[in-house]
Symmetry: C2
């Protein structure tokens, strides 16, 4: 076997960087189910969606046919600021594990937002600017999405209003200050700046907020303010489309060196990273050109794929958004305080849900202490301190590599390292002090979540 | 002019990465003055230095002759984990400033330590390991050096004891936790684990510590524990040697694209980054092969080059270390609470001091509010949130670019972007809230510092 020497890190040349996003829906026989208007239970029209989202993004949201969508030059220029993201051969981890497996990871954390979220933030901000809007609104929990959007808006000179879950606003002042440095206004949610916020404050004066409430506030402001629209960092089809840049770049780099992954692993919250990473590989599988094992990794505390139901449900706990068909724990499900904030979401992208339902993808769940053990091991040999979310993928990649050690198989494992943990040191501190615990919801707790899923003919009956 | 299209970022191929460090002392006619034993006022011998430092590092410290020193393979392997660092063309900043100047920066922040410190940490840890030592001790203030050393020691399976200035230990718990995640023991200084610590605690029960005290503790532990040595992240000749990797890589990348900088700018604390960045360019200037303007930028609150004296002085406030000839404000000088912790050092590398005294380099000082203004402007257009230290160089790079705008000159400006500001958000918060102030020491305050510099024939008399 004459194999080209694989460098530690593969960086594409600027000229090799993708010019198109890849739309996996074009290759799906069973398309993802459309969003439904909760009042009429009919598919949301472009017009209805256009009240909340930018026109071009609505087009992308509804486009199940075009396989490639060109990345506008201005977005490609922005991508050049922090991309290409390196594809890293984890030589040091392999040596530490003494595994015959070859391990690769696509590292998306080399930018100030600290994650892959920037890939979609710049796209959404760009189309808002193109439409002549003044600004955008959004919510943020842990803060990665809010930071990414702030950066994109600063670059394009667009106003950015972020509703940040109040407990995060208070507990993560540093994330908040990064957003402010990029010129965003950051409001703790619930706030008295919106009707829904005032209502919630009146009903629950001491509340520290929730993502659902922050979404409701951001949507209200977007739909009630001239020249504003709402943007969202995960779950939506358009987000997976933008995030396909992760997978397309990875595939170009791998093809260049003749590498073919056997297993592709990603953490799964709303699905933006996993969907982006696997898209072009999944396309090959859907077209029957190649086969890969895809593994979605979710926290045991919030197991939407492994223990959820496949049904129409609200995307937000506030129930103001359209219904999406997805694997869900119910929009009222409250996951335990797992430190991977980005994975604490009750549902899953409709695209990934359909692919999972059709058997194209596997899923598994892991507990957070074992996730942090993997994170620490990875950090010490590979040098990068990973985000808790990303570390879910590391856990399973290490497990798969150890299986190879037992069997002697030289499998090629690829996983997505979505971001860095620099703003998650409180969680690491808990782990370092031995104070971290695991929690797996009981069947009764899951049932309570399922009970909140809307009932209508064909759904949860 | 047919100019090769310069990409946004130049990454060297693995095969192009430097195999040698460059020792600028070999090209200096006036060598840096030797370290003196404070008791005898005679040059420190290799034997004396060997009590505190590893043997090979002592050799490097004293080597004024060899121009190139080979980088051991194991260190080069580690470098491959986070290097090459990109040389970035600041197209977006140029456009924002509407300047004809071409601006480049070498970005050293793409690693978990968040700065260039890792370049020397791995080298020092490596030689300690090679010597068969069990571990190393060091001090850290802001925490970048301590983090870098922890990472290097984790990689080499070497014990790492960090004495962290108590106020930082308490105010920067996240930095502390990064070090602990990498397996280092972190002790707030002063502590009761050393004689000098107990003495200081008895005399000043409420003290929150100082870098000088932490150095004294780390040195005491190193010299009193079998199998341990002390390591330091700046100031020393050996550190500048290791940091030459910054400049050598930069020069290879620039030569590849036919770029010749007119002005090279770096922030200056102890001198590790500035010395590393300018080394190979300075070598050309010293050999009469090329000319460059070098600008050292220091905080107006701690102006060792611009307002200090050139004399033998203690490297530490505890006065346990050898005397170094350098531009100094006196080891007792206490700089105001500037947020660029890495630049709050009373002295300056002997190498850089000699070059400055001989007129090969310029220096200027800037105030911190103007530094943070530059940092914010840079972050918004270039996407990277810079460390306060690095932002000193950004300030002057922008100022020089604006001069070009006035004169119409198309100068090429290169500066060192040493790190990211993710652990400096408290400072950014102050700035965002308009609560940041400037402080310039009075002549009387400086004189008090000078009064503490040791007096002996030929020194400060």
């Amino acid at each position: 076997m004459s194999e080209k020497k694989i460098p530690y890190k593969i960086y594409l040349e600027e000229s090799e960087m993708p010019k198109d996003w890849y739309n996996v829906r074009a290759d799906m026989k069973n398309k993802p189910a459309p969003l439904l208007n909760p009042a009429t239970l009919k598919p949301m029209t472009a017009e209805e969606l256009g009240v909340v989202f930018c026109e071009e993004l609505v087009r992308q949201e509804l486009d199940n046919d075009n396989r490639y969508i060109e990345i506008p030059q201005k977005i490609r220029d922005f991508y050049k600021m922090y991309r290409p993201a390196p594809l890293v051969r984890a030589y040091c981890l392999e040596e530490k594990l003494q595994t015959p497996a070859k391990i690769y990871y696509k590292f998306e954390g080399n930018n100030t937002s600290g994650s892959h979220k920037l890939n979609s933030a710049i796209a959404q901000a760009y189309y808002a600017k193109e439409q002549g809007l003044k600004g955008v609104t959004t919510e943020t929990g842990a803060g990665q999405w809010g930071t990414a959007l702030s950066m994109a808006c600063a670059y394009l000179d667009l106003d950015c209003k972020v509703y940040m879950v109040k407990c995060s606003y208070e507990q993560k002042p540093f994330r908040r200050e990064v957003m402010r440095t990029y010129g965003a206004s950051v409001t703790p949610s619930p706030s008295d700046t919106t009707e829904v916020g005032r209502k919630i404050l009146a009903e629950h004066p001491g509340t520290t907020g929730s993502l659902g409430c922050a979404i409701s506030e951001a949507v209200e402001v977007a739909t009630h303010t001239e020249g504003y629209r709402y943007v969202l960092g995960s779950v939506l089809n358009q987000v997976l489309l933008h995030q396909s840049i992760i997978g397309v770049e990875t595939k170009i780099a791998m093809d260049k060196y003749g590498i073919k992954p056997d297993i592709i692993i990603g953490c799964a919250g709303g699905g933006s990273n996993l969907g982006g990473l696997i898209s072009p590989f999944m396309g090959e599988k859907l077209r029957g050109e190649a086969d890969y094992r895809f593994i979605a990794v979710e926290p045991a505390s919030c197991p939407s794929l492994t223990r959820g139901v496949y049904a129409y449900d609200f995307c937000d706990t506030g129930m103001v958004c359209p219904l999406a068909k997805m694997y869900t724990l119910g929009s009222g499900f409250i996951p335990s305080a797992n430190h991977a904030g980005g994975l604490r979401y009750h549902g899953m992208s409709s695209v990934l849900s359909q692919l999972y339902a059709d058997g194209y993808m596997e899923a598994c769940s892991v507990e957070q202490t074992s996730v942090f053990e993997a994170a620490e091991q990875f950090a010490r040999v590979e040098g990068i301190l990973p985000a808790p979310e990303s570390s879910h993928a590391i856990r399973v990649a290490i497990d798969e590599a150890m299986k190879c050690k037992e069997t002697g198989e030289e499998k090629t494992i690829l996983f997505g390292l979505t971001g860095t943990g620099y703003f998650d040191m409180y969680a690491y501190e808990k782990f370092n002090n031995g104070d971290m615990s695991d929690y797996i919801p009981t069947d009764e707790e899951l049932q309570a979540g399922f009970d909140g899923i809307p009932k209508f003919p064909g759904n949860m009956e």
